[in-house]
Symmetry: C2
Subunit: 481 residues, 2 copies
């Protein structure tokens, strides 16, 4: 494929993508396929001779689109949103075109430089204290990770490293294993699965602590757990607090947990993967009360800030806690220009060595939307979730699991789990809308997350109509109500 | 930005990207900037109001291009190639447009299904034994990771997990820490920095073993190290062999290391990040001799197979060794349809939960290039590296560090390290070409890696001319030679 063929086919691809997004309502949100279906549709081997763009293009509907779960559809209410927008796509096209890696300043100066500035822009937008901003010669700063899971893992491994060094300094006779057997991390039962997975990778005990009625891990619960573990000769070293849980968008109170972590010299990481984006609106910034006590903070612009996956923003008050722990620097990566306090070396911040030029799409999105428009979109989604909540409250067959705080409504049919399991199965079999269930303290419920960038009130009332209709077969409306 | 604005601006972006790639020779390969330069060029905060496409576009040269290290330039010979091609960009545009996540079959059926088929296509192309291919109900299979670093980490953590379970089964009184203190991993001194980093993350001892004259870790060296450790009461559990080292493209002999690992029940992972792509040519497949003894294997299509970053292919003979070790399955991810032997659940294979629809760009590349064309490109690059080797050998001021096997030539000025350090500094200050140095056993040398997809013989002779010219100031040519 030469340049002129690319220009022509890429123009067609732009139309394919734009038509797809503009007409996405016409497609059933979830595809009508069963596991293994694609094997029969594709040859067992790659072709020896190259095929034309037309041949590939003609397969797009048949092979690809027929099996897509349409996350960008206004009828998609599952999981959390995954970012997409025209400005982000423009930035991504440029990233692919340049195709440079950004693991050190030397490997692509603007890759590091733009990321530093974009992390400061984002920190400013969500109201992170200055201690998290990058300043030349300063301690704070942020970097883009691939996902919140990676950010949590890096925070936990760094905390582990700091603790190992401290304990070995105090008692050089201690082995790594002796210390590992004593380390304890904490998160709440509403914490994300990736937090528990980070503990499995990190080989440390993780206590899953109970939450209160609103889904928050409370200070006394945490403090009691820490003191009990210390009493048993263990070493609490890491807490992962949640702002905006996956199940119900519940949040821990950082102003309560923070001082406790500080008191016991414990690394406090905040997983605000979804909810962090809302903090660009001043009215939601109360979620970050107590942020000054936090060691590291993470949210995903690729969820609710219209930036395409992957783009997860992570900050630390003292970046050396992350970058010093896992450095391995062969000669081909030595970087005299970059190795100074003036500019960070992001390869020491993450698991992979390679780094895509991800800050470019952030720059496109923040410039072309502007902060006010991004705020409008967050507020629109929160209003839609509240609209859905009103619908639920008006139908007395249903109940809310928790009050709506942001763009997620967690609801259920009153009664046992079984009717709710039947309802979610019906909804997803029906394929007009798509959502996923969750479970808290043995209560099974449905999640309704506003995901599509152009979801409207009419979409929400349509979805509610579908849910009511399908519920009728399970729990008929009592006449007169 | 609405759909029609996107159609128009995306067309312009296609022209910007295509013009960039077609005229890339005109740009100095490395930018003329110093650390911190960008801070002055950008506002300290994101704009409140959205800006137009024209405003962003007008900044592209000034802000972005002025700071790019042009990895796609034929004058770029640093690190290893990072994949790029027009078909890959088309696939990537579609991935961004659809913007679906592929962490489970349910989250996007075609995301998992196409990945399964693409992994089989790739396995077939490089001649991996059938045991690594995915078959319904079978044990083998592969998945796309973000990078070779992640693949190595996942292999090491999975091996650690298997060993922990085995030892605890034999002696339930053993603690995790007691086992960790006894685990030993091995790699060679030519292994990638990410292998050592995986051991730091995994909290296990890693022995860096010496290589022979050709850069290979030999069987007797490995066996002696293992036996010595076992004799000391330790538990060897993981070996990372290298096919195509970063320094000199050296390779370990799997037919020698494999049986030793099998004898001692040690997980043998192969990091063929760069060199794996060459195995699509039968004449380079000798590199995989002994592959039947291997536990897991990894190479990066995003390096030398024209697929854009990130795209790292990893296979295991028994996928349950990876997927069973770190499962955490909350209700919102439970997936009745997908949880069977008919189709894998890739979220159990990797650190992040989120997964981009990466197989799409692989499908575009393999179909639109075809295997033969991709083979031609590999062979072209190997021939160019050999051409460079001939140039080096003709100038008696220089010497090759090792014989060229694939697309990397490692060379140096005869004499001490100092003259070579001066040469590489001169080359990168000159900015007509760009390369990076390396060091083996205290010998400092220069790496010349063929990177650009359309690098030609004339580019290589031009680069050699630049190197000779700059060497003249350090080591003048003796008249008469």
């Amino acid at each position: 494929m030469d340049a002129s063929e690319f220009r022509a086919s890429a123009r067609e691809m732009i139309d394919i993508v734009t038509d797809y997004l503009e007409n996405i309502r016409e497609r059933p949100v979830f595809p009508d396929v069963t596991p293994g279906y694609l094997r029969q549709m594709l040859p067992p081997r790659a072709p020896d001779e190259g095929e034309t763009w037309d041949e590939v293009k003609n397969d797009l509907e048949r092979v690809i689109m027929s099996g897509v779960n349409h996350w960008q559809s206004p009828n998609f209410y599952a999981y959390f949103p995954t970012g997409n927008s025209y400005p982000s796509m423009l930035g991504s096209m440029l990233t692919d075109g340049i195709s440079t890696l950004c693991f050190s300043w030397n490997s692509c100066p603007v890759g590091t430089e733009l990321e530093v500035t974009m992390m400061n822009w984002l920190a400013d937008m969500i109201g992170l204290p200055d201690a998290f901003h990058f300043h030349p010669g300063g301690k704070g700063g942020g970097a883009l990770q691939g996902s919140a899971s990676e950010a949590t893992l890096i925070a936990l491994l760094s905390a582990r490293n700091v603790t190992l060094l401290n304990l070995k300094e105090k008692d050089p006779a201690l082995t790594t294993g002796q210390i590992i057997d004593r380390l304890v991390a904490y998160t709440s039962e509403e914490g994300h699965s990736s937090v528990q997975r980070a503990a499995l990778y990190g080989l440390v005990e993780m206590r899953i602590l109970p939450v209160d009625d609103k889904g928050a891990l409370r200070g006394p619960v945490l403090k009691a757990a820490i003191e009990k573990d210390i009493g048993a000769g263990l070493v609490p070293f890491f807490v992962c607090a949640t702002i905006g849980s996956t199940g119900t968008c519940a949040s821990d109170d950082l102003s309560e947990l923070g001082p406790i972590c500080n008191q016991f010299d414990i690394w406090l990481h905040v997983d605000a993967a979804y909810a962090g984006s809302a903090c660009i609106c001043p009215e939601f910034r109360y979620l970050l009360n107590g942020i000054q006590h936090v060691t590291s903070f993470n949210f995903d612009p690729h969820k609710w800030l219209r930036v395409n996956f992957e783009c997860s923003a992570m900050w630390v008050k003292d970046t050396s806690l992350i970058s010093d722990g896992h450095q391995v620097s062969p000669v081909y990566l030595k970087d005299k220009k970059g190795n100074n306090n003036n500019i960070p070396e992001f390869r020491h911040w993450q698991v992979p060595l390679g780094r895509r030029f991800r800050s470019l799409k952030v720059w496109f999105v923040l410039r072309m939307f502007g902060v006010k428009k991004l705020q409008d979109l967050i507020r629109k989604d929160v209003a839609l979730a509240k609209l859905f909540e009103e619908c639920v409250k008006k139908d007395e067959r249903f109940e809310m699991v928790r009050e709506v705080t942001l763009g997620l409504a967690s609801f259920r049919l009153k009664g046992d789990n079984d009717v709710n399991e039947r309802l979610v199965a019906k909804i997803n079999l029906d394929r007009r809308i798509h959502l996923v269930p969750s479970k808290i303290k043995e209560t099974f419920f449905l999640r309704f997350a506003i995901c599509a960038v152009d979801a409207q009130a009419s979409d929400v009332t349509y979805a509610w109509g579908v849910i009511q209709e399908l519920a009728d077969a399970i729990t008929p409306v009592v006449k007169g109500h």
